[in-house]
Symmetry: C2
Subunit: 255 residues, 2 copies
């Protein structure tokens, strides 16, 4: 287990200088998209999960590695989507003030954090329920925030979130949206609401249902009695083989 002492033993000699990785991890709950964020220790500073790249590890391995530490999972969908490389993407002065108070930030460590970083961003899609969240050494909170209630994030992290969200919107027919974000069993309604949350528009219930059934990616399971005074919906699971086949061919789920 990591502890306070480890934080103070932390050093950066095994990392590539100037290169970082940040992750926009998207989950879905209560009909809303959520983003995984961290709060820095003792500060009102929010940031995306991220880290540095070890000298002997691939960029993608670094992302996998960072997310394994934060969520306990190996992500089934994790893909690089953009590299942020502007000179002034980390506002040095702002950062210096924020870090200045902490005992952790010795002069040497300060120097590391104040250098120019080029950050490659990864997009992950995950079933929130499967995650076992743990803050990193510099943070005291690691939580899901609804996309619509995003706090102000440090540096260009809000831009990263925006870019990732518009990415899944554009690429909606080529990404394993349902299979990554929904639990094993789900209703057609929640499947539809997921697409509506991503596309930010309402879809016709009848047409959605017919289209998804016609694609052959769903297994119809038992009915789910909800206790409400209406017809019980079926539960569905994904036919993974068929789903992946369609994704590879790039067949459209939604127009």
């Amino acid at each position: 287990m990591k502890n306070e002492k480890e934080v103070f033993d932390m050093n950066f000699k095994n990392f590539i200088p100037g290169q970082s990785v940040d992750c926009v991890i998207i989950g879905y709950d209560q009909h809303e998209l959520h983003i995984l964020v961290l709060k820095w220790k003792g500060l009102d500073v929010w940031a995306l999960p991220g880290g540095f790249v070890e000298k002997n590890e691939d960029l993608s391995t670094a992302a996998t590695h960072i997310l394994k530490e934060r969520t306990g999972l190996n992500f089934s969908y994790l893909e690089q989507f953009y590299t942020f490389g502007d000179v002034d993407r980390r506002k040095k002065e702002e950062l210096e003030i924020k870090l200045g108070n902490s005992v952790f930030f010795t002069e040497e460590r300060m120097k590391w954090f104040l250098q120019r970083f080029i950050s490659t961003s990864y997009l992950g899609l995950v079933d929130m329920d499967k995650c076992d969240l743990k803050p990193d050494l510099l943070s005291d909170l690691c939580v899901w925030k609804p996309l619509k209630e995003m706090p102000i994030l440090i540096f260009d992290h809000n831009e990263m979130v925006q870019k990732a969200v518009s990415h899944i919107k554009v690429q909606v027919n080529y990404l394993p949206i349902g299979i990554s974000l929904l639990p094993k069993k789900f209703t057609m309604k929640s499947f539809q609401l997921l697409y509506e949350a991503i596309l930010n528009k309402s879809l016709d219930r009848g047409n959605f249902q017919r289209k998804m059934l016609k694609l052959g990616i769903l297994n119809r399971l038992e009915k789910q009695l909800t206790g409400a005074a209406n017809k019980a919906p079926y539960l569905y699971s994904f036919n993974k083989e068929k789903y992946k086949e369609l994704l590879d061919k790039g067949i459209g789920f939604i127009n």
Copy 2:
């Protein structure tokens, strides 16, 4: 003008260590896509145009800057598409042998070239006729090669080309294909052949023509008498405003 002396004066202290930029520049001629490549001085080594990033320049500025030097142009379409960050993407041993013979590669320079580099790749689309090609300091040739006759490129550069080409295929409806790759005046036939080259499949002539005309992105100009024993085709130019408007909305050119 750059000359041999300048090569020997070249040093790397103004560059960010470990970070490079490579460019997949796509042109279109004789019904085929072409890629801009360089041949290293005195060696049978081919590579994409690329370079390093100055300490005080943005990543995108570095790409713009590199291409200005190679082609004399400021690209109207130039976009980052992937960052290659595997530990062993540059095969050190191979590189060491290739560079070992050159007088340019002093120990210090060798050390620079043999470090691990993370390379961010940019995709550019350009009218080949507008380019005024110039090799870089390490190369003696800077030429267009037809995509179907790509030489073996150094490192992972062939992978970069493949990734860029499949990127434009997938993104075909969102990229300024015609306006970037065709000359000012062109025939409907050459416009169609361009899409066929990208999509690698044949399209129906009548339907293509009707669709493009209906989109309202084309201005019909004078007829072009080719000298051939058949009806003379019209020349067209692009209605740039309408074209960009459609691109922004993401309206489909081709299915």
